[in-house]
């Protein structure tokens, strides 16, 4: 997960940066808009207050005065958006009513309504000035109504609006993040499928990886890997061929040595030279066995070109033939070799040649390591799911500590006093794997001995 995790984090970082910048800009714009609307609304309300005052400007006997009832003044002082201060001045800027200390309006007489920001009593304020034409007997001019309120409530309100607008945006950004995280995960599924496919592959499976369910971007990677796999299997196949060829080439000279040794053994007088020849003969036979086993191993390896694992074979028949072939050798060692199987055929898909090799190696081992007078039994059992091949002997058995290692190539249990090269069970293991079969090695129930069990799954 580490690999796809960083990819995900990288992509998310790339998305989150611009998203935050954009969100900040949007917030600033939003705040500006909120402020404008709030100002607009508050200004209108302030203008209403100014108009209310303006309506009360009256002229009596050439004198301008404002007839502001007590109630109206109270109302102005207890507005929701804060206390409102006002000042009414005459055409010659003479004080009429209100707060005399309000700052002078900077706007000249024009008859217009003006909004502007100013400061009053040390606080930021909003000012509306209204200019109303008046006529006293002799003069014409404008009465200026100036209304002032604190700007703080506006900012507060704008902030509130901004907050309300931001919350859904925050939710949106978070949602986008989660969606992107999830989407990247989904996008990376083919990669993790590929990863688990590679992880679960056996080391002997060098077939090409499928390109089909993989996104376009990953295909070059798959192709490169397939190229490597192909080169690897070619190299392995060449190696297998070399071993097989070498083993074949060795057979003819070995046949020569063996024939000559046997011939000499017949003619030699029963003395030292006879003993030497017997040793030579044993060594020759051992070498021949090693060569044959190397050849079997080369054939059983996955890179080997022969693979007729699709044939229908009857394991009972194979076991019967193999056991019958080994009977003379078993009898020579006075070992009671027998078969225990049902009459029903144990038909499965497999490579008859390799299965026969497996049986040969199992029987060879069992007969080789079982003492004179011992017993070796081959069993084939069929149930719904499996075909089980068992080779059981009442020989000395394999110590528990050695049971894993005997499947390794060239590993030999020490102290058996038997000549061998340690490839037999490696071959059995290799051929079993080729057939998706499990090999288990255990002690014989009720006494010394070894049981090797090969379980072939029956594919429906």
């Amino acid at each position: 997960m580490a690999k796809s995790g960083t990819l995900r984090r990288q992509l998310l970082a790339w998305l989150a940066g611009p998203l935050i910048v954009m969100w900040s800009i949007s917030t600033m714009v939003d705040y500006d808009i909120a402020k404008r609307f709030v100002n607009f609304a508050y200004d209108r309300a302030l203008l209403d207050a100014a108009l209310d005052i303006g309506r009360q400007v009256k002229v009596l006997n050439g004198r301008i005065y404002v007839d502001l009832p007590e109630v109206a003044v109270k109302m102005l002082q207890t507005r929701e958006s804060g206390k409102v201060f006002y000042l009414v001045t005459g055409p010659k800027n003479e004080y009429i009513t209100g707060e005399p200390d309000l700052p002078q309006t900077p706007h000249p007489e024009s008859g217009r309504t003006n909004y502007y920001d100013d400061e009053y009593l040390g606080r930021p304020v909003r000012v509306v000035t209204l200019q109303l034409p008046v006529e006293t007997g002799k003069d014409r001019g404008y009465v200026t109504v100036q209304v002032v309120e604190d700007r703080a409530p506006r900012a507060e309100f704008a902030g509130l609006i901004l907050l309300r607008m931001m919350l859904p945006q925050v939710a949106l950004v978070l949602l986008a993040g989660i969606l992107v995280w999830y989407a990247i995960g989904r996008g990376l599924v083919p990669l993790s499928v590929l990863r688990s496919e590679i992880e679960s592959r056996s080391h002997r499976d060098l077939s090409a990886l499928s390109e089909e369910q993989v996104p376009q971007e990953v295909r070059p990677l798959i192709r490169a890997m397939n190229g490597l796999l192909q080169r690897l299997s070619k190299t392995l196949a060449a190696q297998q061929r070399f071993i097989a060829d070498a083993a074949h080439q060795l057979r003819t000279p070995m046949a020569g040595i063996k024939t000559q040794t046997e011939l000499a053994l017949r003619q030699a007088p029963p003395d030292e030279s006879q003993a030497t020849l017997r040793q030579l003969n044993t060594a020759t036979e051992q070498t021949i066995r090693l060569i044959n086993q190397l050849l079997s191993l080369a054939r059983a390896e996955p890179a080997a070109e022969r693979a007729h694992t699709g044939e229908r074979v009857d394991l009972t028949e194979l076991a019967r033939d193999a056991a019958a072939d080994w009977v003379p050798r078993a009898l020579a060692r006075q070992i009671d070799l027998g078969l225990d199987s049902t009459q029903a055929p144990a038909t499965m898909e497999g490579d008859a040649f390799l299965l026969r090799e497996m049986l040969n190696n199992l029987l060879d081992n069992a007969i080789r390591y079982t003492q004179t007078g011992g017993q070796v039994t081959v069993r084939v059992a069929v149930d719904i799911q499996n075909i089980t091949l068992t080779v059981e002997d009442n020989g000395p058995g394999i110590p528990e500590s050695e049971r894993e290692r005997v499947f390794e190539r060239f590993y030999r249990v020490l102290g058996t006093g038997v000549e061998g090269c340690g490839l037999g069970l490696a071959i059995v293991h290799e051929i079993a794997q080729r057939h998706n079969a499990e090999v288990a090695l255990g002690p014989r129930a009720g006494g010394s001995g070894t049981v090797i069990k090969v379980t072939f799954p029956l594919t429906p």
């Binding site: 074949h248 080439q249 057979r251 003819t252 000279p253 070995m254 046949a255 020569g256 040595i257 063996k258 024939t259 000559q260 046997e262 011939l263 017949r266 021949i288 019967r320 056991a323 019958a324 072939d325 009977v327 003379p328 009898l331 009671d336 070799l337 027998g338 078969l339 225990d340 199987s341 040649f353 039994t377 081959v378």
Partner: protein, 224 residues
């Protein structure tokens, strides 16, 4: 008895030659396919031991030319390859037997004897096992020349066991052999015949061993 050995490996060729000469065969030996083809075209032999992997002309080709000339001489193939295809191809081309290298010398000698005998008698001969002789064509068995009292079915069982002496014969193989006389021969019937045979043969040192789950085996003379 003239035997031709065609083998390019000098050590093996020498071993084979000397072994067969000791068994009183007249042995010629050639080392490549071309020479073998030439010799076989001009001289007659009772047996040819033919290696498949030969220089100049491979064993298959030598065999094909030999059979094309109409020769019926028995041929024993030798090969370092043990693939089934090679074996089938050789037998299809008219080889009579097959031996994979390396082999046991007694095994080769036994095959040679069998092939020479077959070549002489056309396949039907008397089978012998120690003091026991079975006249296959005459359908009677003798022990040191004295006739043995055996039924037809007992003779049938004995014939199969003697033909595969020292090797395991399955009950179904025996049943197949007896099918001609009996419509249906069960495993129990086979057991009965073997039991009777044993009773008659054991006193004279011929023993039929039961191999668990596999069948019966006529023990080799040396063992019995």
């Amino acid at each position: 008895m003239r035997v031709l050995i065609v083998e390019d490996d000098p050590v093996l060729a020498d071993g084979l030659t000397r072994s067969l000469r000791q068994a009183d065969y007249a042995v010629d030996c050639v080392h490549d396919g071309g020479e073998a083809d030439h010799v076989l075209a001009t001289q007659s032999y009772d047996l040819v031991i033919l290696d498949l992997g030969l220089p100049k002309l491979d064993g298959f080709e030598v065999l094909r030319r030999l059979r094309r000339r109409g020769s019926k001489v028995p041929v024993l193939m030798l090969t370092a390859r043990d693939s089934l295809q090679d074996r089938v191809r050789g037998l299809d081309l008219g080889a009579d037997d097959y031996l994979a290298k390396p082999f046991d010398l007694p095994e080769l000698e036994a095959r040679v004897r069998a092939l020479v005998r077959r070549g002489q008698s056309g396949g039907s001969a008397a089978l012998t096992h120690g003091a026991l002789t079975l006249d296959v064509a005459g359908r009677r068995a003798t022990l040191n020349g004295d006739p043995l009292d055996l039924s037809a079915r007992e003779l049938g069982v004995l014939e199969v066991l003697m033909m595969r002496s020292g090797r395991v014969v399955g009950k179904e193989q025996l049943a197949e052999q007896l099918y001609g006389w009996d419509e249906e021969v069960g495993a129990n019937a086979i057991e009965v015949y073997v039991h009777r045979l044993r009773r008659k043969l054991e006193p004279v040192g011929v023993s039929i061993r039961t191999i668990r789950g596999l069948g019966y085996l006529l023990e080799k003379e040396s063992n019995g």
